[in-house]
């Protein structure tokens, strides 16, 4: 006879310490909430790990922790972000993401309803990206020992034979392409911060870029030297890293860099540079000049690359500076962000 167990009260209930204890309550939380949201054959087997087949090509692996505050923001929540961010890290290798793990650290008292909404959007984001969350972990800590919910995801994918994207590959003359407007995620998060709240229509750009990348790889193949998703530190940090790794400099054209008017206005008010503000659904690609046109066309043909633009080129520079011709008519460096712009942006 099956033991009676009261159903999870998703609407009014909340997580308590028993949900991390390894007992029945934890099993119920996992099966009733997470399996429900992620539903796939691997999870259904109920193992502490999942075995899967791997096709041809080299494997790619990545991991990321998510501590964003607030948990829910315009355009997404910590759950969708935890899928998009890890999928994108894999996709930036030109790889096809396949499987994810998800680990939850939950503060006691966290509402089931919020946890369900977050898990559901993780499941949706995974389905949209064509990946499966096939293993996970749940821990509950006492009140005050974590801020509501932290999620950590890891992912694996496969990169096709012959494709070797890497930060040291940029060469003098290569073009720099970005997939769309900069700074949307950072500004959307800032607009909801308790002590900073301002009204804006900007929503986070949080999205999985693997489908966009697949189209770019098809159009550009080995002409794509490398890709990066400019998250914390923005485009400035991404390009400075690449410049150092590849031992080149970059010359950008400010007027070619797309920034939404709402983002530009918010940055103006807050004294920020859109090039330092985080993105969660954008990529920067360095592409051989002869294939840049084809790759840019492939980007623009995809809904997530509609606003894609060619913003500059790699140049010979022993100092590995990222320089920019300003719209005003002068020149300047685009440096790394110094200090912390805003903690817990992702």
């Amino acid at each position: 006879m099956k033991a009676y167990q009261r159903k999870l009260d998703i609407r009014n209930g909340c997580v308590d310490l028993t949900h991390g204890s390894g007992g029945r309550a934890m099993a119920q939380l996992i099966s009733g909430l997470f399996h429900e949201a992620f539903g796939n054959e691997w999870l259904a087997r109920g193992n502490d790990q999942s075995a899967f087949d791997v096709g041809a090509g080299r494997m790619v692996m990545t991991t990321d922790g998510y501590v964003v505050s607030p948990l829910f923001f315009p355009g997404g929540n910590i759950g969708s972000l935890a899928v998009h961010g890890t999928v994108n890290d894999i996709a930036m290798a030109g790889a096809k993401p396949l499987y994810l793990s998800a680990s939850f650290i939950i503060e006691e008292g966290f509402r089931f309803a919020d946890l369900k909404a977050i898990a559901d959007s993780m499941g949706q984001a995974a389905r949209d990206a064509g990946v499966y969350i096939i293993t996970g972990d749940t821990k509950v800590v006492e009140r005050g020992k974590a801020d509501r919910l932290f999620i950590s995801t890891a992912g694996v994918g496969v990169v096709p034979d012959g494709l070797q994207l890497s930060a040291e590959n940029a060469r003098v003359g290569d073009r720099v392409l970005i997939s769309g407007t900069l700074g949307d995620h950072g500004v959307a998060i800032m607009s909801k911060r308790q002590n900073l709240a301002f009204e804006t229509e900007i929503v986070s750009d949080s999205a999985s870029l693997n489908d966009l990348v697949a189209g770019m790889v098809e159009a550009g193949g080995r002409g794509i030297r490398l890709m990066r998703d400019p998250t914390r530190g923005g485009l400035a940090a991404a390009l400075n890293e690449i410049a150092q790794q590849s031992r080149v400099g970059f010359h950008l054209l400010e007027e070619a860099i797309p920034v939404k008017p709402g983002v530009a206005a918010a940055c103006e008010l807050l004294g920020l540079d859109p090039l330092h503000v985080a993105n969660e659904g954008k990529l920067v690609a360095v592409v051989a000049p002869e294939l840049a046109g084809a790759v840019l066309a492939a980007m623009r043909a995809h809904p997530l690359g509609r606003d894609a633009a060619d913003i500059g080129k790699a140049v010979a520079d022993d100092h590995h500076f990222v320089q920019m011709a300003t719209s005003f008519g002068g020149g300047r460096i685009v440096d790394w962000l110094s200090g912390e712009q805003l903690p817990r942006i992702c």
Binding site: N195, L196, A264, E268, F321, G329, G331, R332, I333, S338
Partner: protein, 380 residues
């Protein structure tokens, strides 16, 4: 972006650049100081230096309240914040300013001090209301522009009968510092200060007006143009200074007539003079002691004065002896002339005032302009 793009128009900029080139006498040099860090930032961010002829050079002044706050005042604030009964409210850009021995508010916070970042004076007042059992201190800094909001907050605290709220006052004044650049006793050790004119900050003059500079212009024979912070404002101000120098004039001119008058904001000035009075002297990082350049609360408001309320003692910390900030702030040296620049002194680990905030002369050059040093070296 409306009301901003109009002042960043490239065509107008090129026209102004052309006029400056045409009117600047090739036979002489023009050295102008933009006093304010906001101007320094605009120059660097928009790459204005590239648009000026070689004989027109901008010298970046000390007008960034974060940069010039001396290490001793930071140490005083840290010592205060370490008391368990205190909540210290600060603007975010103060968090990384170095005190002595590498201390900072950021590090004090990590060690457990209750230091909260606020975005306006009103936030600090709110925190005081929410925490009646704690002492809430607002770390007030800034030039004449930010003093009236502090005054208003003290008035509000008075009205709400908040007994747990006070201000650690570090407000400073522009005209005395400008004067100090030209006539401080240190100048004997630094060398000749050659400045042909000043760009004055418009936001300060929305409060104090243009009149307080009239004595300065007359006494030192240097033209002053009060200018806004958009790049076109700067270009126009530079052209106005070139014309004054060419015509041998030394007047106070107002480029920012869209918001600045001769007398400024009378109501704000009244509010400030009701609550604050001059300190005999105040220390500026990089400049040293500057007479009559700082404000403190009047005795009638001692209840709101953190220095009186918590018996805070003045702490003095000497600047690093290798630091060239004093000479850089007076235009006698350039950032690259300093041995510390870009070696031990960078925006991540600032040693001197000029590197402390993004508006400082060295930080702006490091962040936006250092590629020019290499270009120049290559050219020579």
């Amino acid at each position: 972006m409306k009301y901003a793009d109009e002042f960043r128009d490239r065509e107008i900029a090129l026209g102004l650049a052309k006029a400056i080139r045409a009117e600047a006498d090739a036979g002489r040099s023009y050295r102008f100081m933009e006093f304010c860090g906001g101007h320094t930032h605009a120059i660097s961010r928009y790459g204005l230096e590239d648009m000026l002829p070689k004989n027109v050079r901008m010298i970046h002044g000390p007008g960034c309240p974060v940069c010039v706050l001396p290490a001793g005042r930071i140490d005083m604030a840290i010592r205060l914040a370490e008391r368990p009964d205190i909540i210290l409210c600060v603007y975010g850009d103060l968090m990384r300013v170095p005190g002595s021995h590498g201390a900072s508010l950021l590090k004090a916070k990590a060690r457990g001090a209750d230091i909260r970042m606020v975005y306006s004076t009103i936030d600090a007042l709110g925190i005081a209301q929410e925490n009646p059992g704690r002492e809430v201190v607002f770390f007030a800094i800034g030039f004449e522009t930010t003093t009236p909001p502090t005054a208003v907050m003290i008035r509000l605290a008075q009205k709400k009968q908040l007994s747990n709220f006070s201000v650690f006052c570090n407000h400073v004044l522009t005209p005395p510092a400008m004067q100090n650049i030209l006539e401080s006793p240190d100048i004997r050790n630094i060398g000749r200060v050659e400045i042909d004119g000043f760009v004055g900050p418009a936001h300060v003059s929305t409060i104090i007006g243009t009149a307080p500079y009239e004595f300065f212009a007359e006494e030192f024979g240097k033209p002053v143009v009060i200018a806004g912070f958009e790049p076109l404002d700067m270009m126009q101000a530079i052209l106005m200074l070139v014309r004054q120098v060419n015509e041998n004039r030394h007047e106070v001119e107002n480029q920012y007539s869209r918001a600045v008058t001769r007398d400024g904001n009378l109501r704000a000035k009244e509010e400030v003079s009701d609550i604050f009075e001059l300190r005999d002297q105040f220390e500026w990082r990089g400049l040293g002691q500057v007479p009559y350049s700082g404000l403190k609360l009047k005795r009638a408001y001692a209840a709101y004065d953190a220095e009186a309320r918590f018996d805070m003692h003045e702490l003095r910390v000497d600047d690093n002896p290798a630091c060239e900030c004093g000479a850089i702030l007076r235009g006698v040296k350039k950032p690259v002339d300093c041995k510390l620049f870009g070696t031990v002194c960078t925006p991540e680990t600032p040693m001197g005032s000029c590197m402390v905030s993004s508006e400082g002369a060295c930080a702006a050059h490091w962040t936006y302009g250092r590629f020019r040093d290499h270009q120049q070296r290559r050219a020579s």
